[in-house]
Subunit: 81 residues, 2 copies
């Protein structure tokens, strides 16, 4: 049964306050030279046998997981364990 | 400058109510045969040149991004754009 990983991120042009907060905390923890921190959602799910994986995942991401106004998503098949 | 993707998920033995809520909503939207839905965080960041990527990312994940009591994390280098 294929396991799919979906990442949902704010579009690049949308401000990401959570990512900024992490980025600003890092130097105080001793981590310099980290930039471009963006934080989003990671979803994993199993798609049943015989189901069109691409159509199903695109549909779920678009209808339920991502807000297409401000978010983009990518997905991939998980490597076999 | 290497871009790193980090996924932070609840450990498998920890209940994931958000994932369960999504899983239960799917049949009503017409998506059958989806199981094992788990929802976590996805973090992307750039690591500066000359920095030890593995040590830095492991440190940040452990100290700031994941709660090691209930969460696990994985990371990978992003493919070149």
């Amino acid at each position: 049964m294929p396991r799919v990983h979906i990442d949902v991120m704010l579009k690049d042009e949308i401000l990401d306050p959570q990512g900024q907060a992490v980025e600003r905390a890092l130097p105080q923890l001793g981590y310099e030279a980290i930039s471009g921190v963006r934080i989003g959602k990671h979803i994993e799910l199993d798609v049943g046998e015989g189901v069109d994986v691409a159509a199903t995942v695109e549909g779920i991401a678009h209808e339920l997981l991502a807000n297409p106004v401000i978010e983009r998503y990518t997905w991939r098949l998980a490597e076999e364990a």
